[in-house]
């Protein structure tokens, strides 16, 4: 694609954004982006203010507790990430919650009380007061879809919302199991995080109600 065409498209996006013309933005982005050498990624932004009560949050011999520096090697082993990633999160003040089966760490998730960050999209969004962003929830691969993450979500949502705190999460809607688990636990879609990239450059990354 010619650079001049690219710049014109970018100006068009910016004008639509300035006018808060969300319908225009949707239509602009619904063009066949691959034809323009662009890639589009959408995440659903979910929020829970009142969790579902009909599912009992019970799993024998499974406990939830805060992650400590001693848990970092186990976290790194579960997801295959560098221990530095988890160390930095703890140092930044994010809260890690460990999911433990008979005392062994089999999963975890993280809470950020300042902003919602989706590293895959390089997008961040400030949180409202009394809100928390849930991210990087992971269960050991051989134990997925066995109720462990659902158990964690139900407890988290009931604890946080009982204190008047809204819980946000961003889910790739192509991951149907993750989406189903979040919706089943009481999350509702409140927006869409959309990003359009041209190569490594981010053209556009807004949030708007679905």
């Amino acid at each position: 694609m010619k650079l001049s065409v690219l710049r014109r498209k970018q100006r068009s996006f910016r004008n639509l954004l300035r006018r808060r013309d969300t319908q225009g933005l949707r239509e602009s982005l619904s063009l066949n982006l691959s034809r323009w050498g662009m890639r589009r990624v959408d995440y659903l932004l979910l929020r829970c203010r009142a969790p579902g009560e009909e599912i009992p949050a019970e799993l024998p011999e499974v406990e939830l507790s805060s992650l400590t520096p001693e848990d970092i090697p186990a976290c790194a082993g579960i997801e295959g990430k560098s221990p530095d990633v988890f160390r930095r999160r703890l140092e930044s003040g994010d809260a890690g919650i460990g999911i433990r089966l008979r005392g062994s760490l089999v999963g975890y998730a993280w809470l950020n009380r300042r902003e919602a960050i989706i590293p895959e999209m390089n997008v961040s969004m400030p949180l409202e007061e009394n809100a928390v962003y849930l991210y990087n929830g992971v269960i050991r691969e051989d134990l997925r879809l066995r109720g462990l993450y659902g158990f964690f979500l139900l407890h988290l949502l009931r604890d946080e919302t009982a204190r008047g705190i809204s819980v946000y999460a961003a889910v790739d809607p192509r991951n149907r199991k993750s989406l189903g688990t979040h919706l089943g636990a009481g999350f509702e879609p409140v927006g869409r995080l959309r990003q359009t990239r041209i190569g490594s450059k981010i053209v556009f990354g807004p949030t708007w109600p679905t």
Binding site: L101, I139, L145, R146, F151, R176, K177
Partner: protein, 92 residues
């Protein structure tokens, strides 16, 4: 200690109903090979609801090892049989 349902002709029907109500599996699609990978609605939350429904309907209690090993209808039937709940044997 719960009193398990030893045998009724309806055990298979109860299992079918649980799968229909919780996981939206139709009568014609129900079978021993159903698993989380083949049932779109069988996610982590549904698994919690599933094992609670099984415990209530059949009057049994599952261990955490059994809950974490429930990865198909045939596995569920196996655990229920071990607790005295009978199902017709699958045809050879």
């Amino acid at each position: 200690m719960p009193n398990p349902r030893r045998y009724t002709m309806d055990n298979q029907a109860v299992l079918r109903r649980i799968f229909r109500e919780l996981l939206h599996v139709s009568e014609k699609d129900f079978g021993d090979n159903l698993s989380p990978s083949s049932v779109p609605a069988w996610d982590s939350i549904s698994h919690l609801a599933l094992y609670h429904a099984l415990e209530q309907e059949f009057g049994v209690t599952f261990s955490i090892g059994e809950i974490l090993s429930m990865d198909s209808v045939s596995a569920i039937k196996c655990f229920l049989r071990n607790k005295g709940v009978e199902f017709p044997e699958a045809p050879e």
